[in-house]
């Protein structure tokens, strides 16, 4: 603690704070670098995470020299289309916030409407409190948060859950960081109906869609993690596949890519199996290779789908 306070012996110049030492101490740069390396694209998100990290670090430095200030409100809202990495970033966020001393534990509790809202009168409040208690000291991630509020049913208990959430978000600010996540348009409707939540969330982060090149990079990364590889031929087919898939309905960014990859693995296994029954030998190389034909036989390339 005292090492960071770097006061010259002469005491003539004003005391300085060694932010660098604090930065190194918290190992924040490592997490941010990891975020940069392991997550493709998402430039605005990374920028915001960096800003938040800087802000927290400075707040901590201020607190250390005794400058009074309100503890910063760290509640966040992630909006973006499906598969843009909201949950992945939330997991990293718990890590970053813990290293910066904003939350005490690196733990993330992921919940949806079902975990918060009860089925009958008097069931909601204890249920919501239970979840909040479990998340205390860490990060509470509410996925598809807009489901909490259902305007079409005026007797819906979601409102009750929202009220308890708000109350705890305010009163236990030091114990808990709440992250809401959902699709952009529906979250906007949600916030319009619950202005109180919108104003209590300090950080609204928008997750952009991935570009074709980024998706290709993601595919390679995922494949490498599963110990598969592409050759030049299959990579070209994959690029073609992604370009077509983007314009089709129900495209869910990285999630669609993962599903495509899973299906390609299935076809690869099928192909190798069929060859083995014909009596052909399989080399070790072939076990890890996803060939062009594994991707090309996808439904996306069939003319009926492509129209």
């Amino acid at each position: 603690m005292n090492a960071a306070l770097n006061q010259p012996a002469a005491a003539q110049s004003p005391p300085t704070i060694d932010l660098q030492a604090m930065l190194a101490d918290a190992h924040v740069t490592e997490v941010i670098e990891q975020l940069d390396n392991e997550l493709v694209g998402l430039a605005p998100v990374k920028q915001r995470v960096r800003e938040i990290a800087a802000f927290l670090l400075v707040s901590r430095a201020r607190a250390q020299v005794g400058i009074e200030s309100e503890p910063p409100s760290m509640h966040m809202c992630f909006t973006g289309n499906p598969g843009t990495g909201k949950t992945t970033v939330a997991e990293r966020m718990a890590d970053i916030l813990q290293r910066l001393g904003c939350v005490r534990r690196n733990h993330l509790v992921t919940v949806t409407r079902d975990d918060l809202v009860g089925q009958y009168i008097g069931h909601t409040a204890p249920k919501t409190r239970e979840v909040l208690k479990r998340a205390m000291g860490g990060v509470l991630f509410i996925d598809e948060a807009y489901y909490l509020y259902r305007p079409e049913n005026e007797r819906d208990y979601g409102q009750e859950a929202i009220e308890i959430l708000l109350q705890v978000m305010e009163s236990n600010r030091n114990d808990l960081v709440v992250i809401f996540a959902g699709y952009k348009e529906r979250m906007d409707t949600f916030f319009r109906a619950n202005a109180g939540i919108h104003s209590r969330i300090a950080h609204h982060i928008e997750f952009p869609d991935f570009s074709c090149a980024e998706l290709l990079q993601i595919a390679e990364l995922m494949a490498a993690r599963m110990h598969y590889r592409f050759d030049a031929d299959s990579l070209a087919t994959l690029r073609d596949y992604i370009q077509r898939r983007i314009h089709q309905p129900n495209f869910a960014n990285a999630r669609s890519i993962r599903n495509a990859l899973d299906r390609a693995r299935l076809r690869q296994a099928n192909r190798l199996f069929a060859r083995a029954t014909r009596g052909t030998e399989t080399s070790v190389d072939e076990l890890t290779l996803i060939a062009a034909e594994d991707i090309a036989s996808s439904r996306v390339f069939s003319p009926r789908q492509a129209d």
Partner: protein, 136 residues
């Protein structure tokens, strides 16, 4: 009369910060915390009222203190204690238990004497609440 029982009975009442530290310790050992309350601190009154279920899935002291404060708010004039239950095989018992709340005016104990068959004298202790008045 300042009634003490449990783990830190020899200490002055713990502050919230100290309670929090004790809870952190219990959680780090994997013990489950629970909140209990009573209006009768008689030493033989082992089973206090439960405030909700024991908290088996809580990872941070803030959650326990949240429940403790809720109980304090509901029963400011009762005794409230925290128990830490160790589920490890071989223990399966409360490892830590201490009082976190006490009424402003505490009851005291009174020794009662009763004569049984054959002029045998039986002594027992009775809790006398503050406004119950002196016994005849």
């Amino acid at each position: 009369m300042h009634i003490t029982q449990g783990t830190f009975s020899f200490l002055p009442p713990l502050t919230d910060e100290q309670i929090s530290a004790q809870v952190e310790y219990a959680l780090s050992k994997g013990w489950a915390l629970s909140v209990e309350f009573t209006d009768d601190p008689h030493p033989r009154n082992t089973y206090w009222e439960m405030w909700g279920m024991p908290m088996f899935d809580i990872r941070d002291a803030a959650g326990v203190l949240y429940e403790m404060n809720a109980c304090r708010k509901a029963y400011p004039d009762r005794y409230i204690r925290l128990n830490a239950f160790d589920a490890t095989r071989g223990f399966e018992t409360v490892r830590l238990s201490f009082i976190v709340n006490r009424p402003a005016e505490e009851p005291h104990f009174e020794l009662t004497r009763a004569e049984g068959p054959g002029r045998r004298i039986q002594y027992s202790m009775r809790t006398v609440r503050p406004h119950e008045g002196a016994p005849r």
